[in-house]
């Protein structure tokens, strides 16, 4: 069996690792700027699919199908992002006789509409956040929306029906703010998703984000997993995820799992998926949305259950029966936490930091998993998401997992681009994080008032840095360059010349 991975970066490498373990051949696709990327090097074969902009390469359904045919691939794994939740892509694969490693095109389309997904959750008996059940098209007057908003109650959220990642979403505290929020959400949704439809949802007071991973085979078996806690978010983007959640009791876990499995069955779901919920301070949970793909945070579930979700995705797609023990899936062994390492500068409001990674040393050792898509010499192109690695720490309990992650972050060295590593070193020392006292608003509230750098340097650090810089220059010019007579500037220039010869 041969699997084409219609993605790039760390998730493409992750899927290919599963292929290799299963004795399957992997096919990479790449854009022009990714010729030298790690997923191309890792794959058994690789094919160019177009210019660097994603619209001309990783999002080109026609080219992907053509390459899959030419390479003789049997199946396509979409990863996450790009075409992973695109019903037309799933359908195109099916039409071309390729196994799409994910749910059917019709289920992707159904759950892709946030209002249709809410209705499905209600049918399955799952509580949803109070809101409207019918979307407002782009031409519905604001007066009509205001009347519905009064019914829902303030504060509320205006959300894009086709939304995701916080795009096309606006918070509204009172009726006066509604017209502007509707305008902004419609504009953003229209340009981001090509669909300006919106709906309204009550805004819960400081909820946690808790989600349930499920696997469902083609024979009607659905297995829900222990929850993931993803409340550490920056502007609606998850940055740290863990399993299990400190806020979930075994009883609540069972209740959420049962409801999630029921929803999956109601819509005829197959393969891997995630039901995202909000959990309020009183322990009540509400359906938020369903992601019809593998999630970035899937490793924390794998670490606490010992189940390889990607391998099961492939086995399910080729018709195998889910033979997992449901109790094992629902019973966490220890605790796992993931940090998303992005090429972003945390000291400049997390501005993307594209460039070339000139040096890299990844952490290792007990309980550490680094799902990376880069190596020394890799480029972080400007064209794509800047996630370069997912660092996961496992321990017998949460404090042990945190200690391991801290240790691993001190080992991690990435030079050439800025990364979020200093931010995680800081976050893991915060009392709120250590004690689990956080909700989805925690990180944005703290960051709003923070001005200090994330990795302040002590006097001793500065002194060591100065000495190291001097010793490095001394070595580079060679001992022969010594002597007071030679100006340091000359020594530096020679060092620079030596450096340029090396590269």
């Amino acid at each position: 069996m041969k699997i084409l991975v219609a993605n790039r970066g760390e998730i493409a490498v992750r899927v290919m690792r599963a292929c290799r373990e299963m004795g399957l051949r992997s096919v990479a696709v790449y854009s022009e700027c990714d010729r030298d990327a790690q997923h191309v090097r890792y794959a058994d074969e690789a094919h160019l699919i177009g210019p660097s902009p994603a619209l001309e390469s990783y999002l080109r359904i026609d080219r992907l199908i053509e390459v899959a045919r030419r390479a003789g691939a049997d199946a396509v794994h979409p990863g996450y992002g790009f075409l992973a939740e695109n019903a037309a892509f799933a359908q195109a694969c099916a039409d071309a006789g390729l196994l799409f490693i994910g749910p059917s095109a019709s289920v992707i389309a159904l759950m892709g509409s946030k209002t249709a997904a809410r209705q499905a959750a209600l049918r399955a008996g799952m509580p949803v956040v109070p809101g409207v059940e019918e979307p407002f098209g782009a031409d519905v007057p604001v007066d009509a929306i205001a009347a519905a908003a009064a019914q829902v109650g303030y504060p509320l959220l205006v959300k894009a029906v086709a939304g995701g990642g916080g795009k096309g979403m606006r918070g509204v505290d009172n009726a006066d703010e509604l017209p502007a929020a509707v305008r902004a959400a419609r504009g953003e949704a229209g340009s981001a998703f090509g669909d300006a439809s919106i709906y309204l949802e009550r805004r819960l007071d400081r909820p946690r984000h808790v989600e349930i991973q499920i696997l469902a085979d083609l024979h009607g078996t659905v297995i829900p997993f222990v929850e993931r806690e993803c409340s550490i978010q920056r502007r609606h983007q998850k940055v740290v995820e863990e399993a299990p959640s400190l806020a979930v009791t075994p009883e609540l876990r069972r209740a959420m799992a049962t409801q999630a499995a029921s929803l999956a069955k109601t819509v005829g779901y197959t393969n891997a998926g995630t039901i995202e919920c909000l959990l309020d301070a009183d322990g009540r949970f509400y359906f938020l949305e369903m992601n019809t793909r593998l999630q970035v945070e899937h490793p924390v579930t794998e670490m606490v259950t010992g189940v390889d979700l990607v391998q099961w995705q492939i086995r399910i797609a080729r018709g195998e029966r889910l033979t997992l023990d449901p109790e094992r899936a629902l019973t966490p062994r220890g605790h796992a936490i993931e940090c998303r390492i992005y090429a972003e500068d945390p000291d400049r409001q997390f501005m993307p930091s594209p460039g070339t990674i000139v040096a890299l040393r990844a952490p290792a050792g007990p309980g550490i998993r680094d799902d990376s898509g880069v190596t020394a010499g890799s480029a972080v192109p400007v064209f794509y998401d800047s996630l370069i690695s997912k660092l996961v720490g496992w321990g017998p309990d949460r404090p042990a997992a945190i200690a391991r992650l801290k240790r691993a972050l001190s080992e991690y060295r990435i030079a050439g681009v800025r990364t979020t590593i200093p931010f995680f070193r800081w976050l893991l020392t915060q009392a709120e994080f250590a004690e689990g006292r956080f909700d989805t608003t925690f990180l944005d509230r703290v960051l709003a008032t923070r001005t200090e750098p994330f990795s302040p340097a002590s006097d001793a650090d500065e002194e060591i840095a100065a000495m190291a810089a001097a010793l490095d220059a001394y070595f580079r010019v060679g001992a022969a360059a010594g002597g007071q007579a030679r100006a340091p500037e000359g020594a530096w220039k020679r060092a620079a010349r030596v450096e340029s010869l090396r590269s």
Binding site: V382, P422, E463, A468
Partner: protein, 175 residues
């Protein structure tokens, strides 16, 4: 025989001299930093990573990577932080200091990468404060807020919503 370096780290200039130590002990050096002499034991790996030991200071061990960023600057990676160091008075910006200019004069807000302007949050004449977002540029699948680094008044806005921008394109001038 010693080699002398002027090195600026975090805005503070330091004088560092390096000379070979006891010839019998390979890798031993005498390093003088701002008049204080220290014995160090150094090994440099193929990849440029330095292992620095202080034999007279309890054997304290530092695993350090020094990476050239060109123009007489290096970045020194320590386990807890990274610092820029500049040779011979070349100005080293502190790692991660917001803003690309000094403490006075115009702030010229430019697109740091190719992308698209999604929101313009200020108009000419507006007073702005440090960290106040001025323009939002979408790039690398993220909306990135470009902010003021200090107080000022918006003199010119050359960005409009929906406008595609190249890296380096001037967007806003704050006087």
């Amino acid at each position: 025989m010693s080699t002398r370096f002027e090195i600026e780290v975090n805005g503070r200039s330091r004088t560092v001299t390096v000379e070979r130590g006891d010839p019998a002990a390979a890798g031993r050096f005498l390093v003088n930093i701002d008049g204080r002499q220290r014995v160090v034991d150094v090994r440099r790996g193929l990849t440029g990573a330095l292992s620095i030991l202080f034999p007279d200071d309890g054997g304290a061990s530092y695993d350090v990577a020094v990476v050239s960023s060109g123009r007489g600057e290096v970045t020194v990676h320590l386990p807890s932080t990274s610092l820029r160091a500049a040779f011979n008075g070349r100005r080293a910006r502190q790692a991660g200091t917001p803003g690309s200019d000094g403490a006075s004069g115009e702030q010229r807000i430019v697109a740091p990468m190719p992308g698209r302007v999604v929101r313009v949050l200020v108009a000419p004449g507006d007073e702005v404060v440090p960290r106040q977002p001025l323009v939002v540029v979408e790039a690398m699948k993220m909306e990135n807020e470009l902010s003021a680094s200090r107080n000022g008044r918006v003199k010119d806005v050359q960005a409009s919503e929906g406008m595609p921008v190249e890296a380096g394109k001037l967007l806003v001038i704050v006087g």
